[in-house]
């Protein structure tokens, strides 16, 4: 049966990719001009901290999917970021309250060179790539997001994890002044997540600093968030201020709150239902009212790259 999809998003609202790419080039060229005049150091600190400022020298990545990215407007207005409110539209509404400069990330635990790194240093030191990844939320909806960022492994290696580092723990900023959602104890703040070391070092695992070529908007987890494309979205912790190498499995917020509903691994898996809903299919955001759901793939379609990480594990048990 042919189901005609209504064109509920006027074509006029969609920014053609070519236009947005060209604009970035223009801005980059303009900045290079400024840089030449003012000097290299000034150039490096020049990009405004403002969300939506372009990120310079973003390279394409071979890990990108060729699927069409979800519209920027949708990616930035439909967010699960309870720190900025529990309604999907709240994070965008409250985004301005989260100031992301200055921003520092503490890296500590089982490593030889613990320390602190600022967001500007992160943007300068690690070559930024665009990676178009599928994002599958545990709530059975999905998007395709053109992230900008770099492999998490690159950052972790700099702090020289020791052999005791079996896991990596992440923590979101706790600051009820800037994160109004934290004024009520909806979750056990601060939000925490964790990965096994081999998951953290996997080339697909990235730290995102932007999307659509621009610095992350606050509602998407500015200024630095994790992206693990084969796991449900809640693993990809936002607005990170602390990274800790640990020997034991670190606590993860949703897992601690509802262990029967949210596992530590949280790998996308159509064969393991959430107790309250099926994970067999998902809705693509932006496809309109009458679009059918799509079948969910194991590991969100990244099985070829990551299935080996879980060889011999019963994924129905370690969900």
């Amino acid at each position: 049966m042919l189901i005609k999809r209504p064109n509920d998003i006027p074509a006029s609202e969609i920014t053609p990719q070519s236009v947005y790419l060209r604009r970035r080039e223009l801005l980059r060229a303009a900045m290079a001009g400024v840089g030449a005049a003012v000097g290299g150091a000034a150039l490096l600190s020049a990009p405004a901290a403002r969300a939506g400022a372009p990120i310079a020298d973003v390279r394409p990545s071979r890990f990108s999917t060729d699927e069409t990215p979800t519209e920027r407007e949708l990616i930035t207005s439909y967010n699960n970021f309870y720190e900025l409110g529990t309604d999907k539209g709240d994070p965008k509404r409250n985004a301005a309250q989260l100031q992301t400069r200055p921003w520092q990330v503490v890296v500590e635990g089982a490593c030889e060179a613990p320390g602190v790194i600022g967001i500007e240093d992160i943007l300068r030191d690690f070559p930024q790539e665009e990676r178009i990844y599928r994002l599958r939320c545990v709530e059975a909806w999905a998007m395709v997001v053109p992230w900008v960022g770099f492999p998490l492994a690159a950052l972790l290696k700099r702090f020289k994890p020791t052999s005791q580092a079996k896991y990596v723990a992440f923590e979101t900023l706790y600051d009820p002044k800037m994160l109004p959602g934290q004024r009520r104890r909806v979750l056990d703040w601060p939000y925490r997540e964790g990965l096994r070391m081999d998951e953290a070092m996997h080339p697909l695992t990235m730290l995102a600093t932007g999307l659509y070529g621009e610095l992350l908007p606050s509602q998407n987890g500015a200024p630095l968030r994790l992206v693990v494309p084969w796991k449900y979205g809640f693993k990809s912790i936002k607005s990170i201020v602390r990274i800790t190498f640990t020997e034991d499995e670190p606590p993860a917020t949703w897992n601690r709150m509802q262990p029967n509903e949210y596992g530590f691994y949280a790998n996308v898996n159509p064969d393991v239902d959430h107790p309250r809903w099926s994970q067999k299919s998902h809705r693509m955001i932006g496809e309109g009212l009458f679009a059918r759901k799509r079948p969910t793939l194991k590991f969100n379609g990244y099985g070829e790259q990551v299935a080996a990480l879980y060889a011999g594990m019963d994924l129905a048990k370690f969900y």
Binding site: I9, P10, Y82, T86, K88, R276, W277, S278, I285, G286
Partner: protein
């Protein structure tokens, strides 16, 4: 009793179309948001939540009629109750249809599995099923035909209220505030019907007597 009749004769016929329009407003608003594109990134989710919210709100409004009537002595409120109940049923049907059609696309196997496996869907479905006979027998004819049993049958609305609130409570991920508010309102409305809820009835009767009203029996 007879004394109060002429005083409010114009009231209910005037209020009925107003209430009808008011009950229709959430639906019209939803359709408008859909048409002008302000419904947001996930229209199916908004339609599902909105129709569910209004079904529950109107159900609670229906349950509020009797306590409100006792509190105020406005007997004519009862004559608006059927419309509230039927609108609650309409929104519940829209809610269910959205699930069947836009969420599941009539995948009956998946739907039956959901109803059997997911407690929040089980109770929601049960609430809808129980509403069905109440909607059918809401007419004057059925009221007459069933006589005393009509009232017994329509006590099902208490169970429906409990199931509907459970349906909401069990589907929420973390923030229980909103379903808890509905649960609180429902608890208050049910408590007002308990024998122990009599104290405020007596209290308000005393007030009315104090105010010199003679038709206190009408307050019952």
């Amino acid at each position: 009793m007879a004394a109060t009749r002429p005083r409010v004769d114009w009231l209910v016929p005037t209020l009925k179309p107003v209430l009808f329009a008011a009950c229709l407003l959430p639906l019209l608003l939803l359709v408008w948001r859909l048409v002008d594109g302000t419904i947001g990134p996930n229209p199916v989710e908004v339609i599902t939540h909105d129709t569910g919210d209004w079904a529950l709100r109107l159900l609670l409004a229906t349950l509020a009629v009797t306590p409100l009537r006792r509190l105020t002595g406005w007997r004519w409120l009862v004559r608006l109750r059927r419309m509230l109940g039927l609108f609650a049923f309409c929104y519940a049907m829209l809610h269910f249809t959205t699930y069947l059609w836009l969420d599941q696309f009539f995948d009956w196997q998946a739907i039956l599995a959901d109803i059997a496996k997911r407690p929040y869907i089980t109770v929601g479905f049960a609430a809808l099923l129980l509403m069905l006979p109440l909607a059918v027998t809401s007419t004057k004819g059925w009221q007459r035909r069933l006589g005393a049993r009509w009232k017994q049958l329509h006590r099902l609305v208490y169970a429906i209220g409990v199931l509907a609130v459970l349906h909401y409570l069990w589907l929420v991920k973390a923030d229980l505030l909103e379903p808890a508010i509905y649960a609180g309102v429902l608890a208050a409305l049910l408590a007002a019907r308990m024998p122990c809820g009599d104290w405020w009835r007596r209290c308000c009767r005393r007030r009315l007597v104090g105010a010199g009203r003679q038709d206190v029996s009408a307050v019952r």
